[in-house]
């Protein structure tokens, strides 16, 4: 099985194209189901955020998969191949792991270190688990990526410091006022910038937002757009300033609308309660000298941008450390992936031993027929334990073999010594379990059913699964 990734992200495509291939619009379950019917992959996870649409699969044919996946994307979204061809990237094998780990760590994000992406990756995986399209390989891959995301965030400071004007303003307000709860904000001007900043403040829990504009209807419209905000006419500006903690000025006025003297008079009436003035207008709305007033904290857009740049620079310094963590985790994942190379041989070996045991029990059936049912059960139990004991050490040794050469040598030797036909697949002892193991899935259901690759007698399989796969299976096997 091979890992393959196909995706489109902010690095390769403009926003209008990303919008057209956004899987979230029709829902991830629909996308996963549609993908299942295409029979490209045995396991699949679809990650869809506003900055990226990516499909992670585990499949048999790594060479053909990228093209099939691009075909799926064009068909699913109704876009033409030529529209997206130059914007699509793909990866295979460990590069898939590297990409996902970097995504989870926030290294591939538009704003490096932003925290939302890890949650989005988790949601993508959960959706795949619910749709039963995630299997052992992708489960392992995604769980490893959650670990990477967590490690990078706790061991580096990649996520520290505000990196947008809105966040920087809120962070400052928190340092002045302690919390945003119960605070009131006045936005002077009904423009887009003021609205966005006010929206951000609102989402951070401020109690009251008042929009003041020279044109009352503009103020009312902006207040409505924000939701839960109120509008006030221009002549109530002073009253609004008096009652507020935070003032955002964003008018298109060519001369300052708030002078130092004006703010001084307001501060006297406020008895010097702290006032945080955020002037995001260009040209400025607030006289710079107003920043000299005691308890007035005046920040203009350049000041906020300087804070943002500083934080971005600091994050940049942490990238190297985050990349080192990604590299470490890729090594671990690679070791796991290699150890999986031995799984078919282990399963085949167990099936061979089990087949011998059953054959012998059947052969001796007439001799055992005189025994009581109880005693026959005991015989069955003893032989089963014997087989398990014999296989325990070889299984452990195979699992412990680190590099692919050693695994190849072991599996080759085992295949020859025990005449394990075909190396990877053997006839199942139980015809009920006889699903074509290497056939690509035709619908969603067998994707989940193929949690453990080759079909096998249930007890053997359970053993193989518990011994070989260190992760916990997220879903019980569906009854067949």
């Amino acid at each position: 099985m091979h890992l393959v990734l196909v995706g489109i992200s902010h690095r390769t495509a403009p926003v209008d194209l990303r919008e057209r291939v956004d899987f979230a619009t029709r829902g991830l379950p629909a996308a996963l189901q549609a993908l299942g019917t295409r029979a490209i992959a045995r396991e699949a996870v679809v990650l869809s955020t506003c900055n990226r649409a990516e499909i992670y699969i585990a499949c048999e044919d790594a060479a053909a998969a990228p093209d099939s996946l691009v075909g799926f994307i064009t068909d699913f979204h109704g876009v033409s191949r030529s529209d997206i061809a130059e914007h699509v990237y793909d990866a295979a094998g460990l590069e898939v792991a590297r990409h996902l780990f970097r995504v989870s760590a926030g290294l591939d994000s538009l704003v490096v270190g932003e925290p939302q992406i890890l949650g989005q990756v988790k949601e993508a995986h959960t959706a795949a688990v619910d749709a039963r399209t995630a299997g052992p390989i992708l489960n392992r891959l995604f769980h490893a990526s959650f670990g990477v995301g967590k490690r990078v965030r706790t061991e580096t400071r990649i996520g520290s410091g505000a990196v947008s004007i809105g966040y920087a303003a809120v962070a400052l307000a928190r340092k002045i006022f302690g919390g945003m709860q119960g605070r009131s904000v006045v936005v002077v001007g009904a423009g887009e910038m003021g609205k966005l900043t006010a929206l951000h403040m609102k989402s951070q829990g401020v109690q009251r937002v008042t929009i003041v504009s020279r044109t009352m209807s503009h103020a009312a419209r902006t207040a409505e757009a924000i939701g839960g905000a109120s509008a006030a006419p221009w002549d109530e500006l002073d009253a609004a300033l008096h009652a507020s903690d935070i003032v955002i000025t964003a008018t298109g006025a060519s001369a300052p609308i708030l002078t130092k003297a004006h703010i001084e008079s307001i501060m006297r009436r406020r008895r010097n309660r702290p006032l945080f003035v955020i002037d995001i207008a260009v040209p400025r709305d607030v006289e710079p000298a107003a920043g000299e007033i005691e308890q007035v904290f005046l920040y203009n857009i350049d000041d906020l941008q300087a804070a943002v740049r500083e934080n971005l620079a600091r994050r940049g310094g942490e990238v190297a450390r985050a990349e080192a963590i990604v590299a470490e985790e890729i090594d671990k994942f690679e070791a796991w992936l290699r150890s999986r190379g031995a799984v078919p041989t282990i399963v085949a070996l167990r099936q061979r031993f089990e087949a011998i045991r059953r054959a012998e029990l059947e052969r001796l059936d007439f001799k055992l027929s005189s025994l009581s049912a109880d005693a026959r059960a005991r015989v069955d139990e003893v032989t089963r334990l014997l087989v398990e004991k014999l296989l325990l050490t070889p299984t452990e040794q195979l699992k412990a073999a680190g590099d692919s050469e050693a695994i190849a040598a072991y599996t080759d030797a085992l295949n020859r010594l025990f005449a394990l036909t075909g190396g990877n697949t053997v006839e199942s002892a139980d015809p009920a379990n006889d699903v074509e193991p290497s056939a690509p899935v035709a619908n969603v259901e067998p994707l989940a059913a193929s949690n453990v690759e080759p079909p096998a007698a249930s007890n053997v399989e359970a053993l193989a699964a518990s011994n070989v796969e260190p992760f916990t299976r997220t879903r019980p096997r569906s009854p067949r």
């Binding site: 400052l172 928190r174 340092k175 002045i176 006022f177 302690g178 919390g179 501060m267 006297r268 406020r270 008895r271 010097n272 309660r273 702290p274 920043g291 005691e294 308890q295 904290f297 920040y299 000041d303 300087a306 804070a307 500083e310």
Partner: protein, 276 residues
């Protein structure tokens, strides 16, 4: 005996500095743990001295300083636990270490003069020591307020911005600690005056020069009254004329500078009424 708490205070100081500089959570926990042990050791010392001398060691300037340090440490630990905020430790512990060196190198509890018996005297000294501990906290909170205020005003969001709680929180803590301190300072001074009036009736008449010197112009008493006016003004100004924030912080620092003056040099060298 006072050297053991001193050593622990010093260790806590190092841990708090480490915690503050590196923002290490582990160092912060270690610092608190060390300070708790220092407080326990100091409690033990104060307890032993109380048993030995038969009274709480606060009648002479040296033992009063030791008891003050002990109270300040407890008050700080209380605030740290209430606010879950360790940033102030790096400012408090140097004060603890500096003051604790005095009792550590001047061992022994001063004998208690006969004049210093009675419950009023105990209330007088313990209220004042507790008031001073509150003012020490207020001073430290005020200093951190000013440091953070300057960074935000200068639009240089750096070292303290990343480490201190918000201005509003610092301002409220400052106000609360000054308020508590002011109440105990008022009680301490009032009870002191009552006690002095009593003592003057018996011991002053008997010719004790210290009791005779207990009037408003004695340095120790005078400076304590100056303190009372400074803190009264701070509380009044914050309410009435909007002198919160940085101005209150400066007043807290000024007030505590006067407290320290009263606690160390005035006690040892200047006062004629309080040198027991």
């Amino acid at each position: 005996m006072n050297a053991v708490p001193l050593a622990l205070y010093s260790a806590a100081l190092v841990a708090y500095v480490w915690h503050f500089a590196r923002r290490s959570v582990a160092a912060g926990r270690a610092a608190t743990t060390l300070l708790v042990f220092a407080a326990l050791a100091h409690t033990f010392v104060v307890g032993m001295q109380t048993m030995e001398a038969g009274h709480v060691p606060m009648t002479g300037p040296t033992s009063a300083i030791s008891t003050f340090v002990w109270l300040l440490c407890l008050a700080y630990l209380y605030t740290e636990m209430m606010t879950d905020e360790r940033a102030m430790g790096v400012f408090i512990t140097p004060l603890l270490v500096a003051l604790q060196t005095i009792p550590a190198f001047r061992p022994g509890v001063e004998d208690r003069a006969a004049v210093l018996q009675g419950p009023l005297f105990g209330v007088h000294v313990s209220s004042l020591l507790f008031a001073y501990a509150s003012f020490a906290l207020a001073c430290v909170i005020g200093i951190t307020y000013v440091l953070l205020f300057k960074e935000i005003k200068a639009k240089h969001l750096g070292f303290f911005y990343a480490r201190l709680p918000s201005l509003q929180v610092l301002d409220r803590m400052n106000h609360a600690t000054v308020g508590i301190g002011w109440i105990f300072l008022t009680i301490g001074i009032a009870v002191g005056a009552m006690w002095a009036a009593q003592a003057q009736g018996t011991y002053g008449a008997a010719g004790d020069p210290r009791v005779q010197a207990m009037h408003l112009l004695d340095p120790k008493i005078f400076v304590a009254l100056v303190c009372w006016f400074v803190y009264s003004f701070e509380l009044f100004a914050a309410r009435r004329i909007g002198w919160g924030g940085r101005r209150a912080a400066y007043l807290s620092a000024l007030g505590f500078a006067i407290v320290l003056l009263n606690l160390v040099p005035v006690s040892y060298f200047l006062t004629t009424s309080h040198n027991f």
